[in-house]
């Protein structure tokens, strides 16, 4: 009965409680936004690294270990030993696969740490390769995963004349990793196409042709410039069958191919701004956009495999140490990441945000023209390109507290006007907790109405985003129900906690008030 009265009162007082309802709607709106991204990030975030790594999750080989501590409890065979990867510049993984760069893997015991250094330098059989078929099979059925893209790298070298500071010209050899790109994949967002700044990107008709796209900022790190239209002659190591039957690159035998550079890409990493002090003591805010500077050439996947096949790899699998997993719905990336890791217990799966963080710890080549050294390492001056704003959980909770306080204050005012009504109810036999239940029902109903309003506004937008991302309707439904449950639980909890004060205050109102007021 008292719940019914509370509901009736809530309906009756809706007009008088608009501020409280709207504040709760605002709180729910913020919480819903936070929840919809709490397990992932917006679609536009971390575009650079997602594009480069070929997906939203990177999976490393079965024997890859993030650290020695990571090996504990894995039951590592005594025939294997943990090996650090060195910072040897010959390694094709050094710049863009920061996990491998800064950590290590399990290799045959006694092979020595140095042996693990050169995945592309003759020791590739020691590195943990991926079995792509098994990998793809294991990931089947994980709802968030839409594809597996192997990171295929063929380390070539190029020779170029370099002008020394003395003015003399010297012929030098540069390690030039070629990265096979799945052109269809790159045409999606974020794909290579969106990062092309000069010439053109790779097109489907390029598959198999000797064309490449180079980094527009490669000269910053000292690599020769490769403008669109330029020709580059590359020396590729031949391929032979290793003792374990896997392909091994033979860096003692080479074949050359001439590639045409058709375009340039740029990989923005972060924006840095700082206060510069001029000669006269004048202060000026300066800023610089930073880019990765990579020696990589992006080439069609078909071209890479064709060369591999021609140089002795026919019938052998291209050695792959890492794969990108496509997760179109990035709003729930962490959920999918857990599912991927669970499906691949022997592998290591890393999400884009963590990967970028690791990459920056490993000092990715990101040369600056103007940024002072003191500023480079200080995060207060920097904003990572595409990084989502991290409001954390604190702001929604604070907003909820404020909204709940508003609701409670609103209820105190509304209920204060109804002292007589409460007095009548008590005279007729309502107990203290009956009155409290009635007021709490009213507070909760008004709060829930506001929360539903806020949730609906955000959810419509979130649902539209998920539908655009081709998330199955069933998953959208489940996510909506789960998020709604959280929003309502927090709303009802806050309403009850903050509604207790007016409820208790008025439940203690003596029935005598009615007669005394007459």
């Amino acid at each position: 009965m008292f719940f019914h009265l509370g509901l009736t009162n809530a309906r009756r007082n809706l007009g008088r409680s608009l501020v409280a309802v709207m504040s709760m709607a605002f709180a729910a709106l913020i919480l819903s936004s936070s929840l919809s991204l709490s397990t992932g990030h917006p679609a536009g975030s971390f575009r650079t690294i997602r594009m480069f790594m070929g997906g939203e999750i990177s999976v490393f080989g079965p024997r890859f270990a993030l650290s020695r501590a990571d090996l504990e409890g894995r039951g590592v065979s005594p025939t294997l030993a943990y090996q650090f990867l060195s910072r040897d510049a010959r390694t094709d993984l050094i710049y863009l696969e920061p996990e491998l760069y800064s950590e290590g893997y399990l290799g045959p015991a006694g092979a020595g740490a140095g042996a693990g250094a050169g995945v592309g330098a003759g020791a590739s059989s020691a590195a943990p390769r991926l079995d792509l078929d098994a990998l793809t099979q294991s990931l089947k059925g994980i709802p968030g995963v839409s594809g597996v893209h192997p990171v295929e790298i063929y380390l070539a070298t190029m020779e170029a004349d370099v002008k020394m500071p003395t003015g003399a010209t010297v012929r030098k050899t540069f390690a030039t990793p070629l990265r096979g790109r799945d052109i269809a994949f790159d045409l999606r967002d974020p794909g290579y196409k969106g990062f092309v700044v000069a010439g053109r990107g790779l097109e489907p008709q390029d598959d198999g042709a000797l064309v490449a796209v180079a980094d527009a900022h490669r000269t910053i790190a000292g690599y020769p410039d490769l403008p669109p239209g330029s020709k580059v002659t590359l020396k590729f190591p031949k391929v032979r069958r290793g003792p374990d039957g896997a392909a091994v690159f033979d860096y003692t035998n080479y074949a050359t191919f001439e590639f045409t550079v058709v375009g340039q890409y740029a990989l923005p990493t972060r924006s840095v701004s700082w206060l510069a002090v001029g000669p006269g003591g004048s202060e000026e805010v300066k800023g610089e956009d930073l880019f990765w500077s990579t020696p990589y050439l992006a080439v069609p996947e078909g071209t890479l495999k064709k060369i591999f096949s021609q140089l002795g790899g026919d019938g052998l699998a291209f050695p792959v140490y890492q794969a990108g997993i496509s997760v179109p719905d990035t709003t729930r990336l962490n959920v999918t990441l857990k599912e991927v890791q669970a499906a691949l217990p022997e592998h290591t799966a890393v999400g884009t945000a963590a990967l970028l963080s690791k990459a920056q710890e490993g000092a990715l080549p990101e040369p600056a023209k103007e940024v002072p050294m003191r500023v480079m390492g200080d995060p207060t001056f920097q904003r990572v390109t595409g990084e989502p704003m991290d409001l954390g959980r604190l702001i929604p909770i604070l907003v909820y507290l404020i909204a709940a306080l508003l609701v409670a204050a609103n209820m105190l005012v509304i209920v204060a006007r109804r002292r007589r009504e409460i007095g009548i109810l008590k005279a007729l036999g309502a107990r203290g907790w009956d009155v409290a239940a009635m007021i709490l029902t009213e507070v909760t109903t008004l709060s829930a109405a506001g929360a539903l309003l806020g949730f609906t506004i955000v959810r419509v937008a979130a649902t539209w985003t998920m539908i655009s991302n081709k998330v199955p309707l069933g998953r959208i439904g489940l996510a909506t129900v789960a998020d709604l449950g959280q929003v309502l639980a927090l709303t009802v909890g806050a309403a009850i906690i903050f509604g207790l004060a007016p409820a208790v205050a008025f439940s203690r109102l003596p029935a005598m008030e009615v007669l005394r007021n007459e």
């Binding site: 009965m1 007095g423 008590k426 005279a427 036999g429 107990r431 009615v514």
Partner: protein
């Protein structure tokens, strides 16, 4: 007197404003089942305070009230609330209806407190409103009713749970003379035909005329019983 249903034993109620002012001073009273008792007296004589003590709406500083064997002093606040709900009916001078509930819902309210079945509650509320002559005003809100009609709704509400005693505080105090007469007749009829016990605080001679006993109060004490 018939078998006693309500007893007040040495009731005292004082308000402390610098010194103790006794609104009810050592009052003892017994009301028999089916009796119609009127309490009269000048303003400030303690009539309404006595009524609120009899109704368990207020606590005395000493003394006790016993309703059908239940001592108020032994009951908690919740116990008193349940006693009011089940055994007492109230009629107030200003009607005190819940403004956003219809006449039918107002009458049904005390029965709903007792968790009676909705259909039985509605039937009983309808019957009571017909008894007080408001069979055609069931869905009207209090503001759509005249003062007399509102008081009839209040009477019907007071009778809803077949209370042992109906306590009325100046039930005709806010009505015109014609309606006062109608109300007095209604009280008299309910007492005569249904045996309903009434304790009524009033200045209305029409009501005192219906009473079996009239208790005169002055300065918080019973001056005489007629």
């Amino acid at each position: 007197m018939d078998e006693p249903i309500l007893r007040a034993v040495n009731l005292n109620k004082a308000f402390f404003m610098g010194e103790a002012i006794y609104a009810v001073n050592n009052v003892s009273l017994t009301v028999g089942k089916g009796e119609f008792v009127a309490i009269v007296g000048p303003s400030g004589s303690g009539k309404s305070t006595l009524l609120s003590l009899l109704g368990g709406l207020d606590r005395p500083i000493s003394g006790d009230v016993i309703l059908d064997g239940q001592r108020y002093s032994k009951l908690s606040e919740n116990g008193l609330a349940l006693l009011r709900r089940r055994h007492l009916g109230f009629v107030f001078q200003f009607f005190n209806l819940i403004p956003h509930l219809s006449a039918l819902e107002n009458v049904a309210l005390p029965m709903r407190f007792n968790r009676l079945a909705r259909t039985a509650v509605t039937a009983r509320a309808q019957e009571l409103l017909e008894t007080v002559g408001l069979g055609s005003r069931l869905r009207h809100l209090p503001l759509q009713l005249s003062g007399g009609e509102q008081q009839r709704v209040a009477i019907a509400r007071a009778l809803a749970n077949n209370p042992a005693v109906v306590l009325a505080d100046e039930p005709t105090g806010n009505l015109d003379s014609k309606t006062r007469e109608e109300m007095a007749s209604l009280f008299e009829k309910l007492n005569r035909e249904q045996g309903q016990t009434f304790v009524v605080v009033t200045h209305d001679e029409g009501l005192t005329g219906c009473a079996h006993r009239v208790i005169h109060m002055r300065d918080g004490q019973i001056e005489k019983i007629a």
